[in-house]
Symmetry: none
Subunit: 200 residues, 4 copies
């Protein structure tokens, strides 16, 4: 309570976050020093420590903010029945959620080894695992689970890694999502068939 200054007076806190995000994405978390962030902003290192308790704290704040859409998605998903249509909707929304959250997940992905020892790594990974679990809900076979994972992976890594491909951003996202849905469909088809077998 009152430990983190709520301050809306000078906006420095926000500027720190934005600068840090940029640098974490472009140079990596570990390789970005607080000196760099401070210099880029034209403040002293000590100013950073006025606004954030540690370096990790900057990343945590970023993740809490940008990761919220995925958090909300998980919350929503948990209240729905695990029907095929809901799963498709889940994947659709996941693709959307990633649109904004992409930078933070890219940081997570590209700095896994470094973040593994930080609390935040776990937090982010749990969010992803939760989405995965919702998609896999009810999947019986190993292969079924792998298909669901692959559908999510297509969307996830597509969102992060496809900068290299030619084409417009939104268009590419749509393509990636369609492929993800295809894979998900194949998973659903198989499960349904298996279920019918078991019954009939």
């Amino acid at each position: 309570m009152g430990s983190t200054p709520k301050a809306r007076r000078s906006g420095t806190r926000e500027r720190i976050q934005r600068t840090a995000l940029d640098l974490f994405v472009s140079r990596g978390y570990e390789k970005t020093s607080l000196r760099e962030i401070a210099e880029e902003l034209g403040v002293t290192k000590a100013a950073l420590y006025y606004h954030f308790k540690t370096k990790e704290d900057i990343l945590t704040a970023l993740s809490d903010e940008l990761g919220r859409p995925v958090d909300e998605l998980v919350a929503w998903g948990r209240e729905q029945p695990p029907t095929p249509e809901i799963k498709r909707e889940l994947l659709r929304r996941y693709s959307e959620a990633l649109r904004d959250a992409a930078p933070i997940y890219r940081i997570l992905q590209e700095n896994q080894a470094t973040l593994r020892e930080l609390n935040i790594g776990a937090a982010l990974r749990e969010r992803l695992a939760a989405v995965g679990a919702l998609l896999q809900a009810g999947a019986g076979s190993l292969e079924g689970r792998v298909r669901c994972s692959s559908a999510m992976a297509a969307v996830h890594f597509g969102a992060l890694d496809l900068d290299g491909l030619p084409g417009e951003k939104e268009e590419k996202r749509a393509a990636v999502l369609r492929v993800g849905l295809e894979i998900l469909d194949s998973a659903i088809r198989e499960e349904t068939a298996a279920a019918l077998d078991a019954v009939g």
Copy 2:
């Protein structure tokens, strides 16, 4: 290519590589210090410098050795015609190649941000891009390319990340490969259909 100078004497070079690999995998490249490697081995840091010119050099040597199977796969692929069957074979062999090379690719993946500025990052990424290009050969549409990428991604990340899933290692690899092939098949089907359309 003279990777092992005169070696064969005391095996220290090999021991360094093995220890480094373990530590790079478990603690990350950046977070692993030469002191740690040396201590774990019971030698001095200076000894490491007798065998390797720099820290990066240790990783490079590791990558040259473990990455060879994928290199050879690319070489082989380039001499084959881009038929569906060849593509399927390519994916199969890729899955196999990853079996041994997994650690090095895991290091690459989990330390991307760090390695981006090192030569070796590029080298490893190129190998992967080459496999991807072979799989995508002749793909006309954006969606087609995304499908091929996803097929490869399924196999690739499956190989690295599925330690968490239950089941025996080899069994999981097989499942992942089957799913990858499914996705690849869907890509091929579409391309073929599109080609027929264009013709007929």
Copy 3:
């Protein structure tokens, strides 16, 4: 002497002093940061600076307040003749004065190295030296002076360090004082004997 400026308003100044005293005793002067004091009090560091000009000032105010009894004792002692009975009374009163002043003298003792460079260290040490001088007044031999010092040391360190011993506080103080008086008596006896020798 204007030690409390206009005060009497919200009592914050006093609360700062009390909190600081506690922390200086338990964590040491150097190791206690203004941040800690402020946090413990639920105010900002800047608030401390409204009431005190520097960190040292807080300690000085504390010392002026708590050290007064010893100051008064010294003033009293200087107006008395250096008779044995006065010396005994001096030691008795010193023991009493320390009852309240103990914390500040403990701080002095446990942070000597740190305070040596601050003015306040000297101030406190002078007070003690003054008591010592009064007790030694007229002591001819080195041994006599050592005896007087030891008598005072017994009382002084007894007051500070005997928390560890079993027994009730006031009871222990009495025991320590008795031992101190014994030592003082031995000093006086010797001096008297020596004086008689010289005369007779």
Copy 4:
């Protein structure tokens, strides 16, 4: 095993210890920075870290070395019967042991607050408590214990604090020891008397 370089090649380790001891005594442990030690020695800070793992380690090494005489004294004392003569001998030897160990005990005394949180503080204090316990062995009354403590305190603080008094060092030590023995004798007399009372 091999963690501390045994090195006798350049003597830097010893020079570090000597310089650190001087600075710790004159400026205090906390106030002495590694930069100062390094500069005074004409080496870099990193060189200090080659020889000692932390700042505290330098102090620990110093204490292990200089504190040995007191350690040995405690060991000896524990094997003797607690007779009056042994106690007197103990105090005599303690006075001697302090002759060399004085600097380290002075550091302990003047930096108590700082060292309290370090392991080493406890270690040193335990040594002193052990001597105190040996002197008090068999003391029945609170006053008896206080007398023994005072005897030891006279010798201890005499050794550390009497630099201010006039006279030659060794001469002052002798005087302090004599006074200490006097106080110890008074303690012994009382205990003996009390014992006789109980019996007769």
